[in-house]
Point group: C2
Chain length 338, copies 2
């Protein structure tokens, strides 16, 4: 399998590292011998080698800040524009891991369309294209006879989409409810431990959970994007992010937290979707709810089904290696059908 | 897909009911049109019709206590011996749902071998053959080019095996730890609520969780059988049930429960397996452990992995429709590759 990586930040490097470290076991256990033939970044250069790039050298170059540090090799092409790479690199799969843009999803979405047009399978950790153009991407993938997978967009490598779509196939899923944003769950846990909102936020920023501008997390938009992805992929819903009721945790006070605690309850930022719509908002959960016990940066999701009742999956929701694993599991799924 | 059901108790009838109720959606969403061509019971007759049995009539006959109540139809064969059904019924898949026997697994194991010998795929909810002959069954299935699946043997329809084997493929799983027996978990929850061991047991029996002879549950053997299945299928371990350290909950006193409570901990009957072995025993869990909050007859399992850290799955562990769903999901998986 020949792979072109669009984006080579944290997550792309995570995948490269996993492919590097697990090369032997992936070949032995899964007959899987992936080859990264191209890597494209926005401002740190691009590389293409028809026979595959050396992953260790690639990681070293990235750590030095620019792909120009990748050693000169015969047959290596440097700094092709991304569309050129997609068109000409002979990759079987394009992996889109550039940063999420929920406003337009561009240029990632254009690259996705181009990849399908040129007969590539598509794997994404970038939420933008999936949130804004799921149905169009599905349609074009079907027309091209190619697959599109995006396990890493929800709960990173914790198999939330696989569980809902594949493992529960045959059940009717009425609703999905989850803690889909690790930053806010970490903050709420710290507020229960006595910290103020601002102190909890500062701590989340210090640990790298929250960005300098934390609005995407604390105002609920990151969770809302994931809710839209769940609604579209599980229920085939036609749902855009502005059709969701979205409320973040910015209004929660230490008093609210205390009141809940005294009533034997806990505030959690809960994303909920049903076939008809959904919401993201702080909810007071009774301690009998499995989601009430999910603390720190951990995520969780509960599927409510006809045959099994409630099934809950708990695991990491972010991180370089965890999201890298999501990409690997998508690639393995595609490999099985190639 | 033509199916022969060996065993038609609770679980077999659950599958029949699901196939009956979901016929339209299974065809529409999955292109899956299963046909139950044969049903065999130990003491309540057998039926075979090459064009398929009527599931509603079958369920009515079963509710009246004997398959002889199934209406006379042209082409129907009654009371063939089971081996005859396996050999001659033209079924694509044999579904083994006769009661578990952990001593010898017979006659179920003989039927399994016969089914593979005659080119049938194999789906089991019966733990006996998997616990006692996993590696031999695997070998014979490979030789026959057929599949063998047994999601229903661990946590019923909650996709515990699928999660470990398929969804986490690419991760290294170091260990698995779980609450795999609903009866004892229900009893421990009731003991925490103040009941004595005997009162909790009586209540579990009244609710149908525990059998008249509860030793399989309370002495840990049911959980141990599931631990062996996990060790074999996840780690390819050569492990028999008597190589596990097994201790049930019969020695736990209200005092033990109270002591744990005062230390902010909870007793749970924990099955644990690693590639090198395993155990089933009561463990005091801190409340920070997701398994500590799994109460009542619910089951749960935690996979400890290299790339994701801990991933936990919580769901029902027993029940007619839940185990029926496990069989359906195995059949759907086989259908996808047929």
């Amino acid at each position: 399998m020949k792979i072109a990586l669009i984006g080579f930040g944290n997550v792309g490097q995570g995948l490269a590292q996993i492919l590097c470290e697990k090369a032997a076991v992936l070949q032995e256990s899964h007959g899987f011998t992936p080859q990264v033939v191209a890597v494209a970044t926005g401002r740190r250069g691009t590389l293409y080698h028809p026979d595959g790039l050396n992953l260790e050298a690639l990681l070293v170059a990235a750590s030095r800040g620019h792909l120009d540090y990748y050693p000169e090799t015969e047959g290596l092409y440097r700094n092709w524009p991304v569309p050129e790479i997609i068109r000409q690199s002979q990759a079987d799969v394009v992996v889109e891991v550039s940063p999420t843009n929920l406003e337009t999803a561009h240029p990632a979405l254009d690259y996705c369309y181009l990849a399908l047009e040129h007969g590539k399978h598509l794997v994404l950790a970038n939420k933008g294209p999936v949130v804004l153009a799921y149905h169009e991407l599905r349609k074009r993938a079907r027309q091209a006879g190619k697959q599109i997978r995006f396990e890493g967009t929800v709960m990173a490598g914790t198999p939330a989409l696989r569980t809902g779509i594949q493992n529960l196939a045959g059940c009717f899923v009425f609703a999905v409810r989850g803690i889909l944003n690790g930053t806010t769950n970490y903050m709420l846990t710290q507020m229960e431990n006595g910290l103020s909102y601002n102190a909890a936020l500062a701590q989340a920023q210090q640990l790298g959970y929250a960005e300098t501008d934390p609005s995407g997390d604390v105002e609920g938009w990151d969770a809302a994007a994931k809710a839209v992805i769940l609604a579209q992929s599980l229920f085939d819903a036609q749902l855009s992010i502005d059709q969701l009721e979205v409320e973040g945790i910015t209004h929660l006070t230490p008093g609210d937290i205390r009141d809940a605690h005294q009533a034997g309850e806990r505030w959690k930022l809960i994303a909920q979707v049903m076939p008809t719509g959904g919401s993201v908002k702080p909810v007071r959960l009774p301690l009998s709810d499995p989601l009430a016990h999910v603390s720190g940066a951990i995520n969780a999701i509960t599927y409510t089904t006809d045959l099994l009742g409630e099934v809950t999956l708990i695991g990491p929701g972010a991180g370089q290696m965890t999201t890298g694993f999501a990409l690997l599991s998508d690639l393995l799924d595609i490999h099985r059908t190639m």
